[in-house]
């Protein structure tokens, strides 16, 4: 009897320990099984995705080809539009006319013009926008500056100078300007400075290295 009395409390403690031990084991295994199940599900999903991708590879490639085709077509059309816009500007159409004819934003056409060296001039207050550009014809030591102001085109003779005067460009004096060029007199200075800067910059001596005389633009070394 004495022994039994002593055993009973141990039996109870042992039973409690076993139960707690079992709980810990179950919790441990449950967590491990959950993690395993999650990993297995992820694997199954990833393998299913891979399989689906492989099966649809042809369709996927076709779709991507179409996407690249559309991108390249858009790029090429933009390039063609830019080239055509420039050609139409050289045919003396205004930026807004070209933009409207080709369904292009005016800013795009203006960007094309500027990249080609065409300069936009806006008359202060009047809101009138003009385009200026020039071409240089060379016949050895002389030639022509072909100056474009919107729909007007005029030619100015140039020839190499001596000393500090690298090039002389003959231009009509103020009195003959309008008759000779068709460009309003108040725009003469704008036109001459544009030509001077462009030609000076093209000679590689800096865009400011020129002088305006009464009948000539002198490009300086």
């Amino acid at each position: 009897m004495h022994m039994k009395k002593t055993d009973d409390p141990y039996a109870s403690i042992i039973a409690q320990m076993r139960a707690e031990n079992q709980k810990v084991i179950e919790k441990l295994l449950k967590t491990a099984r959950n993690e395993r199940d999650k990993a297995a599900a992820k694997r199954a999903a990833a393998e299913a995705e891979l399989s689906e991708t492989k099966q649809n590879a042809e369709t996927l490639t076709a779709g991507l080809t179409q996407k690249h085709h559309a991108r390249l077509e858009k790029e090429l059309r933009k390039k063609v539009a830019g080239d055509l816009a420039l050609d139409l500007l050289y045919l003396k159409n205004s930026v807004s006319e070209v933009a409207a004819l080709l369904d292009l934003p005016e800013s795009f056409v203006m960007g094309i013009a500027e990249n080609a060296g065409i300069v936009r001039h806006e008359t202060t207050g009047a809101g009138a926008v003009s385009l200026m550009w020039l071409e240089i014809e060379s016949m050895g030591r002389s030639g022509n500056i072909i100056f474009h102001w919107d729909k007007i085109t005029c030619k100015f003779w140039w020839e190499f100078g001596a000393g500090d005067a690298l090039t002389f460009i003959d231009v009509p004096g103020a009195e003959q300007w309008e008759t000779a060029t068709g460009i309003p007199l108040e725009r003469r200075d704008i036109a001459l400075h544009f030509i001077g800067k462009k030609v000076a910059a093209g000679q590689g001596f800096g865009a400011e290295k020129y002088r305006l005389d009464s009948n000539a633009i002198v490009i300086l070394r």
């Binding site: 395993r36 999650k38 694997r43 393998e47 390249l72 159409n93 004819l101």
Partner: protein
């Protein structure tokens, strides 16, 4: 009551559980790695498709660039010619504005001019 046996039993139970959990952990690790491999392979398949698609499209445009440029330019000019025609411009005006010749206008505005 054999206390030593009970302690050993408890220890054995716990060790068995730990071994089982470790085994599950190894399986989880293998599954996780397999999932990652599958996703990498999937990305590889997509990349190959993407490369093939890009090469195919670029090859096409590279080979047909000249013809396509002419075609797109002609389409744009034809559209511009139609606009000018609808605004009442003459064939001479249109040719001058767009820098095109009579054959181009005849091709693209033939029916329009006939009805004009």
């Amino acid at each position: 009551m054999d206390i030593q046996k009970i302690a050993l039993d408890l220890q054995n139970d716990m060790q068995a559980a730990i071994a089982a959990a470790e085994k599950l952990g190894e399986l989880s690790k293998a599954d996780t790695e397999a999932a990652a491999d599958a996703l990498i392979e999937k990305a590889d398949v997509i990349r190959r498709c993407e490369n093939h698609a890009r090469d195919t499209a670029e090859d096409f445009f590279s080979k047909n660039s000249a013809e396509l440029k002419i075609k797109y330019r002609e389409e744009m000019l034809a559209g511009a010619a139609q606009k000018l025609f609808k605004s009442g411009k003459s064939a001479t005006d249109i040719a001058s504005i767009l820098g095109v010749d009579a054959a181009f206008l005849e091709k693209h505005l033939k029916s329009g001019f006939q009805n004009h």
